[in-house]
């Protein structure tokens, strides 16, 4: 929705930089904005998707913080810990927080992408409308390959804002000394309390505290995310316990006054407030979540006596084996090990060092199971650590095999909810990102400042054997039940169905825009456009605009309440579906050689085709007839005929015709119920077709933003045309078919040039 607002403001804000602003209006909402724009906001912060700013090699910290934040139980525990905190969790938290958030400044990023530091005044959070146009323009629009690079995406995220500078410690309000815990709590609370669903957090203070407390993390060096995880958890445990001790000590004297400060707690919470004296002492929540217990069973081979020793763990570090699974690695973890020779076991029963058999089993299963895959192995012959690129598969669900016989709930089902990925060739450098499952919006990729929805299958790209040196490094499994999983599947399905229905409506919008390329205002959904559709597919067509605006909540509403569709240069949007073959397969990303090769093949095919031309034509005609017949049979008639240039087949076959012919041969399915329609029946965008589940695909309200790929292609070609100095503006007024040809011709020209050059 922010997109609406932004483009609206730019369209109405008749500033001197209008031309530039127009460009800005074209920028579609980011995938993550699209993802949340229609969903009602939750109060627990589980659907706030904020990136974290990188202060130079702090990606280990960012990705781990994200994993911790999206553990529902951990987040809530952190927020609720000193009970007297006035801050969120409560449904009306947002009202209270405005005053509280004085320490948080929200600044749109300066054009150089650096946040303005030190602004301490309270500022309204949503100020994207006033974002400078230059900042919002994606960097290097002429180089399409750059646009998809992580760097460019991060810059764009920074530029888009809002920025949340968490730099003033709030620990006093928690009645705590400043610690890593309080800094983390500050971070989590600011995100939960923010009015915006997306943005970039600057965890400045957290990093400062981290560097202050531990010299290990003081350097600018690459750090180990797993070490950091361990450190943070232990630190949090310590901080909380220290605080509890202190609080306990002062309780008798101060508890009453504390209760008064906590007066905003409503009567419903009175009970919990009253029992605060004991609640304060509850410091075991980190243990409750992450801690499990291992039993090491050692069996003396001399006297057969089995001695057991329990030890707690916060995570399990497992050795890796080539072509194995996490399950198998966990089995190996518990495989018995012989203690012999220099490594004998001191048996208390028979006395002295004896040979023994030792195995580790899990006695108590943690709620959140953190599995550290030991990818960095010390190679003795090299004298240093080396990264293992073994293929280790991990399932979305897991149970533990290596439990003791007396373990409670040994068949506990876990679900994968977060993966930390290490990208790089070795342990001393590289980059960390996190992929985390949200409660309602599927999987998301967190790469420092950038947050992006990804397909569920994306999670499986990091088994370790794919190019790009990216491997899963830490896996987070949380406990669940089969029923919960089934419920979730059901919800997913319903959402998918809802999205499908929505998409259907959106396609109508698109059709409308195409039909009326004038700058006249188009109120998306009705506009006299009638398509007979299956009844189930069109739930609340008209009221859709209605409920959406309220979800904007804090953001200023657009005066008219209309989506600013006219601000988009509709002509080239409309041209998109008509030129599918050109936009995607022949992308300008290709190297010169590839293009050459392709042309050769194209020529060879051309010859062959000339022979077939007539036959082809007949078949096509027959197919077209059949199609229309089928359409009638199904009671669906679309104006899809306009996808077919009428003149095909009458001219001698040239390159252009072949491209057209290729497209023609594949009949356009008449019912636009799926994502395929967004691609305009394009046979070549197969990847997008298969990805109907991609949220970004299904939610897109405008053709310009239909998909990440299509959308960018679209824009790319636009930029290119500008770059080539072709008469873009004139072009836009021409009928789209002509434009298409021109476009194609310019493409050909470029191709030839590239061959010559």
């Amino acid at each position: 929705m922010s997109f609406f607002k932004r483009s609206k403001s730019s369209a109405s804000g008749a500033s001197p930089a209008a031309a530039k602003k127009k460009e800005e209006a074209v920028i579609p909402p980011t995938p993550i904005q699209l993802l949340v724009q229609d969903a009602p906001q939750r109060t627990d912060g589980s659907d706030k998707f904020w990136g974290y700013e990188n202060f130079g090699n702090t990606c280990y910290c960012n990705s781990m913080l994200q994993c911790l934040y999206y553990s529902k139980q951990f987040r809530e525990a952190v927020i609720n810990y000193p009970k007297k905190s006035l801050l969120p969790g409560a449904p009306n938290g947002a009202i209270n927080t405005n005053a509280k958030l004085a320490r948080i400044s929200t600044e749109p990023a300066a054009p150089n992408g650096k946040p303005k530091v030190g602004a301490g005044q309270p500022a309204p959070l949503a100020r994207r409308g006033s974002t400078p146009a230059s900042a919002a323009t994606p960097p290097n629009p002429t180089k399409p390959e750059d646009k998809d690079s992580p760097e460019a995406k991060k810059k764009a995220a920074l530029a888009l804002g809002p920025m949340l500078n968490v730099e003033i410690p709030n620990s006093k309000n928690y009645n705590m000394d400043e610690s890593l815990f309080s800094a983390m709590k500050d971070l989590f609370e600011s995100v939960v309390a923010s009015d915006s669903r997306t943005g970039v957090v600057s965890p400045q203070r957290f990093v400062e505290v981290l560097k202050m407390k531990n010299e290990l993390f003081r350097s600018q060096m690459h750090q180990d995310a797993h070490e950091f995880f361990n450190y943070v958890l232990n630190e949090v445990i310590e901080n909380v316990e220290d605080h509890a001790k202190a609080a306990n000590h002062n309780k008798i004297n101060e508890s009453t006054s504390h209760l008064e400060t906590a007066s905003t707690a409503d009567s419903a919470k009175a009970v919990s407030t009253a029992s605060e004296s004991t609640a304060v002492l509850n410091t075991s929540w980190v243990h409750d979540l992450f801690e499990g217990a291992l039993t090491s069973e050692t069996k003396c081979l001399t006297c057969e006596n089995v001695s057991r020793r329990d030890e707690p763990f916060l995570d399990l570090s497992i050795d890796l084996e080539k072509h194995s699974s996490v399950t198998s690695c966990l089995r190996n973890f518990s495989a018995s090990e012989m203690l012999c020779e220099r490594n004998k076991f001191h048996c208390d029963v028979c006395g002295g060092l004896q040979e023994a058999e030792k195995r580790m089993k899990i006695k108590r299963l943690p709620k959140v199971l953190a599995l550290h895959l030991k990818r960095f192995k010390y190679m003795e012959e090299l004298g240093r650590h080396q990264k293992l690129f073994h293929r280790v598969v991990y399932p979305y669900h897991l149970r533990l095999f290596n439990t003791t016989d007396d373990a409670e709930d040994p068949d506990r089902l876990y679900e994968l909810y977060a993966v930390i990925i290490h990208i790089g060739g070795g342990p001393y450098h590289g980059h960390y990102v996190a992929i985390i499952k949200s409660e309602e919006h599927g999987w998301l990729l967190y790469d420092d400042e950038m947050v992006e929805p990804v397909d569920k299958s994306f999670v499986r790209n990091f088994f370790g054997d794919k190019p790009g040196l990216a491997c899963a490094y830490v896996l987070f499994y949380q406990e669940t039940t089969l029923e919960a999983v089934e419920r979730e599947n059901l919800m997913d399905e319903e959402r998918a169905a809802a999205k499908k229905a929505k998409l259907f409506n959106k396609t109508d919008v698109k059709a409308d825009i195409k039909r009326k390329p004038s700058k006249e205002k188009v109120n998306g959904h009705v506009n006299g456009h009638v398509i007979p559709v299956p009844v189930e597919e069109v739930p609340d067509v008209a009221p859709q605009e209605g409920p959406r605006t309220p979800t904007l909540g804090p953001q200023p509403k657009t005066p008219t309440g209309l989506p600013p569709v006219p601000a988009i240069p509709t002509t080239y949007l409309a041209a998109k579906p008509v030129t599918p073959e050109l936009t995607s397969p022949v992308s300008p990303v290709k190297s010169k050689k590839e293009r050459e090769r392709e042309q050769k093949e194209e020529k060879a095919r051309e010859k062959e085709r000339e022979k077939q031309a007539k036959k082809e034509e007949k078949e096509r005609e027959r197919e077209a007839k059949q199609k229309s017949k089928e359409e009638k049979e199904n009671g669906v008639s679309h104006g899809l005929g306009r996808f077919r240039p009428a003149s095909i087949g009458k001219k001698p076959f040239g390159f252009k015709q072949i491209v057209e012919k290729e497209r023609e041969k594949e009949p356009v399915p008449p019912i636009p119920t799926n994502a395929q329609q967004l691609g305009g029946g394009d046979a070549s965008t197969t990847t997008t077709q298969t990805a109907t589940s991609t949220p970004s695909l299904l939610q897109s309200p405008f053709p310009a933003s239909s998909t990440a790929t299509n959308g960018s292609d679209n824009r790319n070609s636009f930029y290119e045309r500008q770059m080539n100095g072709s008469t873009t503006h004139k072009e836009e007024k021409k009928p789209k078919e002509k434009e298409e040809k021109h476009h194609r011709a310019s493409k050909m020209l470029r191709k030839k040039l590239s061959i010559l050059g």
Binding site: L398, A470, R597, P669, Q689
Partner: protein
């Protein structure tokens, strides 16, 4: 055995093409040369494995050449590991095998039955056509496999009589509009387009062996084991019975962007001059291909009916024309190879109240096979799972279908009534493969829990879990030549590159460690189990503790049995037989065939000596 090893064909890119990422690293230009397949005969202890019956040794290792990418497959120049474009589903090499012998031999049911088992639950049914079959010298087989043969024979007699009984009861048999048009001159219909002369953007090119016609004429001389195998965007046709150069493809079809993922040969219509193949593609497209005449037709063109990838495809047993495809969106669709596509609109609109219920089971027939509108494809359309259907298998009596999906479910469907009967769950993770025992009593599944689960069809419960793999299990199959009434032999392969063999009999199952009493309750809370295929009433060994839910449709949902209450079966043999993850396992009378993701097809000879007879290892 050849004493030299040919250098392997170059691989593009270095990390392997079929890993699901068709892009080179570093944007290096990829070679465009077409390489040919290689064959190797390595020997040594690492190329053999022992079981009770003797030593299996590697006969040959055919390595299919991975084709270079099509020019239109834009290689990504910057290998951004975080690129979020979803990669199209890809699959390792899978094979479909068929034995052709001319002139047609006598119809040997047992042999046919076996073939049907080999074809992974794709048994042949009664067919009026003169059928080619393999008639090998069964008498000369050693005593060991004879016991297996007898079993298979006996079982198949049952199956055959069953087929007789249900000949009217054939899938879709009640629907007059599905009755096949009488074929002219008893000639088998071929697909309409010539694949060589095709100018479709779907097919890139076809490379035929120069001596193909000569080779095909020779096929009459002996029986031929044809193997069809996919790798990347190529589809190979090999003759494994060839005396020499068996690694050379008889023909090879290269597709453009779509990759063939699964395929199946029709055992009903096969003949010396005719083989019907159906292939499912990563883009959802389906191709009906007749390799002898090089003709093909496309179905579900550009996903006109369903635009998700086809992950498994099989001919419906006994049908000339119908086949079943499992799609990545959880739909099972019956197509007719000769019908045109029509955009699919569910015929059965669900009412509001209905939705909830249907959602519960997740199964409903959006189009029934008994629908009268049968002019176009699809013939039937069932929504089965909420996630991808990874595999399915027809029961030996052709009445039931076992479907496994990515959400970890095993669904048992009565295909004649189009009813979902049972829903079982994996221990955890998705299920990847499924097969039936030759007698139809047991179902095996393998999945992402690294386990093979044995399910009793009649008792509707889990029998045992088999652990031994170090990674996901990608293929399971029974070895009908080593099954007898008491003991079943089956094998499995997985992503760990291992082949495991298992002997299973109900009696030898180790009791689970928990002391939960296993009373023999004659009927469960949901009534008696179903009647067994052989008429024996089921329902014994039902544990009271199994509380299954039954919904209004009569679908039974079985809970996951705790580990402590389930028997665990150890493997009798485990061996790493490939450096790459394995894809498929197939038992044949004289050998075991395994395939891997990188295009190796390995044939393992069964033990030679006839002295070692099989002793069923049951107690």
């Amino acid at each position: 055995m050849a004493m030299f090893v040919l250098p392997p064909p170059p691989r593009y890119p270095p990390t392997g093409f079929s890993l699901g990422s068709p892009y080179a690293m570093g944007g290096a230009p990829m070679p465009v040369i077409e390489t040919s397949n290689t064959i190797a005969h390595p020997t040594g202890p690492e190329f053999s494995f022992h079981t009770g019956e003797g030593q299996y040794t590697l006969r040959e290792d055919i390595h299919l050449a991975t084709p270079p990418p099509h020019p239109s497959e834009t290689p990504i120049t910057s290998p951004n590991p975080l690129a979020i474009q979803p990669a199209p589903p890809s699959a390792g090499t899978r094979i479909s095998t068929i034995v052709i012998k001319t002139p047609p031999g006598t119809d040997r049911t047992s042999q046919l039955y076996r073939n049907s088992v080999l074809a992974n639950g794709d048994p042949e049914a009664e067919s009026s056509e003169p059928r080619t079959s393999v008639s090998t010298e069964e008498d000369s087989t050693d005593g060991g496999s004879k016991s297996g043969t007898d079993t298979a024979g006996a079982a198949s007699t049952v199956a055959t009589s069953m087929t007789h009984l249900m000949s009217d009861n054939k899938f879709g048999g009640e629907n007059a509009s599905l009755a096949p048009a009488p074929a002219k001159d008893n000639k088998k219909r071929k697909p309409k387009n010539n694949i060589q002369k095709s100018n479709s953007s779907f097919v890139s090119r076809v490379i035929m062996h120069e001596a193909l016609t000569k080779k095909l004429q020779e096929t009459g001389a002996s029986e031929d084991l044809f193997v069809f195998a996919n790798i990347n965007r190529a589809y190979h046709w090999l003759n494994l019975s060839a005396k020499q150069n068996k690694q050379e493809s008889l023909s090879k079809v290269l597709f453009t962007k779509s990759h063939p993922i699964c395929h199946d040969v029709n055992h009903v219509t096969k003949g010396a001059t005719h083989v019907d193949i159906v292939m499912g593609f990563s883009t959802g497209d389906i191709v009906w291909f007749e390799p002898m005449s090089n003709k093909y037709s496309r179905l579900n063109k550009n996903g006109a009916i369903n635009n998700s990838a086809v992950l498994d495809v099989q001919w419906i047993p006994g049908s000339d024309n119908l086949f079943l495809a499992g799609h990545a969106d959880g739909s099972l669709i019956v197509y007719d190879k000769e019908k045109e596509d029509a955009p699919f609109v569910p015929e059965e609109f669900l009412e509001e109240g209905d939705t909830q219920k249907k959602h519960m089971s997740g199964f409903f027939a959006a189009k029934s096979v008994n629908s009268r509108i049968q002019k176009f494809n699809p013939v039937a359309y069932w929504n089965v799972a909420k996630q991808a259907i990874n595999a399915f298998a027809f029961s030996p009596d052709h009445k039931h279908l076992a479907v496994v999906s990515e959400d970890g479910r095993l669904c048992i469907i009565n295909i004649l009534k189009e009813e979902l009967l049972d829903v079982f769950n994996s221990y955890y993770g998705g299920l990847l493969c499924v097969c039936w025992s030759p007698d139809g009593r047991y179902i095996l599944t393998g999945g992402q829990d690294d386990l093979i689960s044995i399910w009793s069809f009649a008792d509707r419960r889990i029998v045992a879990r088999c652990s031994g793999h170090h990674s996901w299990v990608t293929s399971v199959a029974f070895d009908p030549w080593r099954c007898d009434p008491r003991t079943y032999r089956f094998g499995s392969v997985g992503e760990d590159g291992r082949l495991l063999l298992w002997d299973f009999s109900v009696g030898m199952l180790s009791r689970p460690k928990a002391k939960a009493p296993r009373g023999s309750v004659s009927s469960g809370n949901n009534g008696a189990g179903r009647m067994k295929a052989d008429g024996q009433p089921a329902g014994r060994l039902r544990s009271e503790s199994v509380i299954s839910k039954v919904d209004d449709d009569g679908v039974t949902y079985h809970p996951v049995e705790p580990r402590a209450r389930t028997s665990n079966l150890p493997a009798i043999m485990s061996k790493v037989i490939d450096v790459d993850p394995l894809c498929q396992l197939e038992f044949r009378e004289d050998c075991i065939i395994t395939t891997c993701r990188e295009g190796h097809i390995k044939t393992w000879d069964r033990p030679q000596s006839s002295g070692l007879s099989v002793v069923p290892e049951s107690t």
